[in-house]
Each structure stands twice: as C-alpha cells, then as structure tokens.
Amino acid sequence: MTVNELKKFATDVRIETVKCLEARTFGHIGGCLSIADVLTVLYNGELKNIDPKNPKKPDRDMLVVSKGHAGPAVFATLALKGYFPLDWLPTLCEGGTRLPSHCDRIRTPGIDASTGSLGQGLSLANGFAHAAKIKDKKNRIYCLMGDGEIQEGQIWEAAMYAHQYKLNNLVGIVDWNKKQIDGTVDECISLLDIAEKFRAFGWYAVTVKGDDIEAIQMAFKQIRENQSDKPGVLVLDGVKGSGVKCIEEMKFNHMIPVDKELADQCLEELEAVKNSL
C-alpha cells in the first residue's frame, strides 16, 4: 500500500470505529482513535504471516492489545482486513456478540489475547515471545499498551523479564496520548520520559509522532534492525482522540456518550479527510 492508501485505511478505521461506538451510544473513543494509525501500519505489512481467513495461522506475528478497551478500533481494523464482516461492528457489546468492549481471543477472530484488566498484556506478550524463542520460531510479538496503563507495576515486572530473557522478538508500543480517565497522565501519576524509562530497563526505545504513518513504519524497521538482543519499544507521541478535532479538543474523552449528533460531526470530518487524500 502507498502512504496515501494507508492514510485512507487509517481514516476508514476511524470511521468504522465511530460508527461502531455510535451503534452502542457510548464507548472508549479517545484511546481508539489514537491507535488507528499504528493499527494501520501493523495490519498492512508490519505483522508478517497473518491471514484473515486463518486467524490462528501457526507461526504468525501476534498482537497483544494490552489496553483492551481499545477493542472497537481493533475490531474495525480486523473487519476492514476481512477477518469478519463489517456488519458485525454494530453488534458491539450486545448480548451474545462476538465483539465485546474489551479484546477477547475466544470470541473474536484475529484477537490473540484476552485483555481488559490493565497492565497484564506485556506479560502475555512475554509468554508468546519466550515460547516462540524456545521453539525456535521466527515470529515477532507486538504489545500495544496505553500510557496510563504503564502506571501498573506488572508492566515493569514484565519489562525486566523481557530484558533478562533477551526477547528481541518482542516489540512494545506505548500509546502516549497524554490522558487517562481522570485527567492528564501528568495530573494523575506522571510517567516522565517513557522511552528513557524503558531504556533504563534495558530496552531499545524509539519515539515518533503517533499519527505519522511513515514514521511509524520506519520506527518498526529501525527497531528490528537495531534492537540486537533487546526487546524494543515504540513510543507514540500522540493525542487522545487523534484524527477527529472535536474529540481531540474534549477535556475528558476516554469513555464518553457517542450520540448521533456527535457521531455525525466526527464522520463529516473524517469523510472530508478521506476525500482530501
């Protein structure tokens, strides 16, 4: 895909995410929109050996979405890639749905890990990555974390483990969108310099703009080529709600009502972006 096509795909992820949340009238819109670009890069070339028709394909690259509440953005991406029909999206959170609010590997084709209690995903990624190494597999494991999420101590337990066992088939991604439920990350518990923190834990760290698709692509390449025997981490310097101005500008945009009026406003903006590409 060309960069322009990738940008269109990312816009489609945002459009389908908004529609999906509108169907449920509420949802985690801020942290969904902020990962649309990295999901686009992951599912259009970065994740190797994946197959929408065979979601459990052996030796595929795997993604743990540790910030499990971003499920709707992941579902939108998977649907756009053909893992399941787009018309599943409006069933989000309905009784008996295949698409619960938080990522669930049992219910949803293409989801590699069940998450929802924050802070646990990096350990799961460790397990995938370490097992792959023990079995001499070449697949790589990605773990997408929220910035507020890394306030959880388990993340740092996992970070030490990944370094100790030289999990250089592991790539962490931190969605540094600066906000959590109760305010900005700095108002709650400041993370200071996330990349430096990971470096201090023995990781190879790169920071890029969270909505810069080309930079994200290059960063993954840079990590792969330079991480040596270390786990790598990509810090996405972004904005919560990115790509939709009216959401970006909200003070609190973690989990909000998404009525028709707001959805229409978002969709109008996104359609204009798409048409301009």
Binding site: R105, I106, D112, A113, S114, T115, G116, S117, G119, Q120, G121, L122, S123, L124, A125, N126, G127, F128, H130, A131, A132, I134, K135, G153, Q154, E157, A158, M160, Y161, Q164, Y165
Partner: protein, 324 residues
C-alpha cells in the same frame, strides 16, 4: 485405584525430592513442559537448580514478580507449552489472583499452579505468608480445579495427569513432613474422593494436611466405639458430590476438616451442596474469622483446633446434633 500404606509414619522420600524427580522426567520426555518460579526454587532444594542447569531454557527464574510469571506462563500455553508455576500458596494466589483469573482462566489458557506450604505450614514465616483463603479465591474461578495435597505420591501422580490437560489446576502443596498415605502404585481419579476408613456414625470429610489428623481422630473415637468414616477429598473443585451425598445418607452427620478458613473452602463447598440438596448436620473445622500467626506447627495446630482430640470432640458434637 489407590492403595494406602498409612501407618502414621512420614513419607520415606520427601515430596520435594519426588517432585524434582518427576519434573525431571517430564522435562526430559516432553519438550513442551516448562517450569517457572518466582524466586522460591529454593523450597524444592538443590535438585531443582540442577534441573535448571540441565534444562536452562525450560526452568525459568522469574524473579520476585508473581503477576508477570502467571501471565507469561499462561501465554506460553497458547503456544503449545505446558507450564508449571510455583510460589508460596499465599503469594501465587492472593498477589496474582487477577492474573490467574484474567490472563489465565478467562483467556482459556492452561496453568499448573503449585501453591506451596499452605495455611499453618508456613509456621515461622507467620500470618503474612499463611494462605487460609486461597481455596476460597480459587473456587470462584470458573472451571478451575483445586487439589489440597496429602502426600508426595498424590501430588506427583496428579501432576503427571494434569500436565497433559488444558485448564487451570491449583495444587495446595505442603513441602515437608507429610505422613505417607498412598502407595506409589496408586492412581488417582480427579474429582473423586477416597474413603480411607469406613464408619457409620459420622463422616469426616478432610483435605490436605487435615486428612491424617482426621484419621488419628477416628482412631481415638474407635476406642469409644464411635465408628467414623474418613474421606480424603483431595479434589475440592469439582467436588465429589455423589460421595458427599452418600456419606450424608449413610452416616447422617458430616464434619469437614481443612487447613483453611471455614469461609469458602472445603467446608463451605460441602455445606453448600448439602444445604441445597440433602440437608444434613455439618460441623466445619477450619480457621474462623482470623489471621494466621507465627509459631511451631504443633503450636499452630493447637491454636486452630487441628489436633485429633479437638476433631474427635467436634465429631461427637455432630453426632449429638444428629440425634437431637
């Protein structure tokens, strides 16, 4: 079928040595078996470190980080590995319960969890280390299996079975001074209690460390012509409801005995079943609403009523209630 060798003596080969030998065989035979520990390999002795030297890729030191150990091991099972993880019963359950629940059970992963030195077995490490609530917590995890271990034969035979099964298996495992109950030829059926002594006046349904103490209580009662059945209910979940019902109907009074709180453990499981299906006199022996504390095993057994004389007294009370 089980064969019992109970005569009040300790196991000749310690449970820890039996485990190291068993784990060595499993690691040798099956390249998917992996052992992870949160800085308590020491509890099993030097043999485990030697296994670490022999199988450096599959004997994993996770450091003092139980939550990460649980999640990492659970994910390994998705990749086809067969994880066994260990810490003290208190730390592996209380500290990492959300990880067992979500990263493990909810994600339909497999874990063989060894929670060692449960309850009063922590003796001199005291109340901070004493798990009297781990069964209660683990019973609420859907589809989890819970074993309260009597001796090394039972532990290792069960582990040999569950290592090839899928799901969450929690082993409450005392690591020293286990009185031998089972011959090494025994085979155990998961979810089926074992009648160790027949009797008609009442049944003691015990688990783990309380099984042999209950046998001693039954011996005391025999001297008074009171004939008590003793059951080793080593699988607490799923409970052998059929056997509970049979004992209730045939003996009319049930006494449960466990190295655990009476809230949520074996006693609760038995009483819940009987309350719903076959109301019967039930006396529950276990820790009441209190914390553990330091002391010798002898002191703590007395402190919590885990001695034959006290159990015998509770049995007589149960029989009296039955008659009333």
């Amino acid at each position: 079928m089980v064969k019992t060798i109970y005569n009040g003596e300790y196991e000749k080969k310690a449970i820890t040595d039996q485990f190291v030998e068993n784990l060595g065989e499993m690691l040798e035979k099956d390249t998917d078996v992996i052992y992870l520990d949160a800085d308590l390999m020491f509890a099993f002795g030097a043999g485990l470190w030697e296994l670490g030297d022999k199988f450096p890729k599959r004997v994993i030191r996770c450091g003092i980080a139980e939550a990460n150990m649980v999640g990492t091991a659970a994910a390994m099972s998705v990749m086809g590995m067969k994880p066994i993880i260990h810490s003290f019963a208190s730390f592996v359950t209380r500290r990492a319960f959300d990880q067992i629940f979500l990263s493990g059970a909810y994600g339909r992963k497999t874990l063989n969890i060894i929670g060692s030195e449960p309850g009063y077995k922590q003796t001199y490490w005291g109340g901070t280390h004493m798990a009297f609530e781990d069964i209660a917590m683990m019973r609420t995890v859907p589809n989890a299996y819970i074993f309260d271990i009597v001796d090394g034969v039972q532990f290792n035979k069960l582990l040999k079975k569950t290592i090839d099964m899928q799901g969450i298996y929690y082993y409450r495992t005392p690591l020293a001074d286990n009185i031998a109950v089972y011959d090494e030829t025994s085979e155990f059926e998961i979810g089926k209690g074992i009648v160790l002594k027949e009797g008609t006046d009442a049944t003691i349904i015990a688990c783990g460390r309380l099984v042999t103490i209950s046998l001693q209580a039954a011996e005391l009662l025999e001297k008074e012509e009171i004939h008590v059945r003793v059951v080793d209910m080593f699988t607490i979940k799923p409970l052998d409801e059929e056997l509970v019902k049979k004992c209730a109907e045939e003996t009319g009074a049930i006494v449960t005995a466990e190295n655990h709180s009476v809230y949520g453990g074996l006693g609760s499981a038995v009483a819940e079943y009987l309350g719903e299906n076959d109301p019967t006199v039930v006396e529950r022996i276990g820790v009441r609403d209190e914390f553990g504390e330091v002391g010798s095993e002898e002191y703590l057994r007395g402190r919590f009523g885990f001695i034959p004389e006290k159990i015998a007294k509770r049995v007589k009370e149960a029989i009296a209630k039955k008659k009333a």
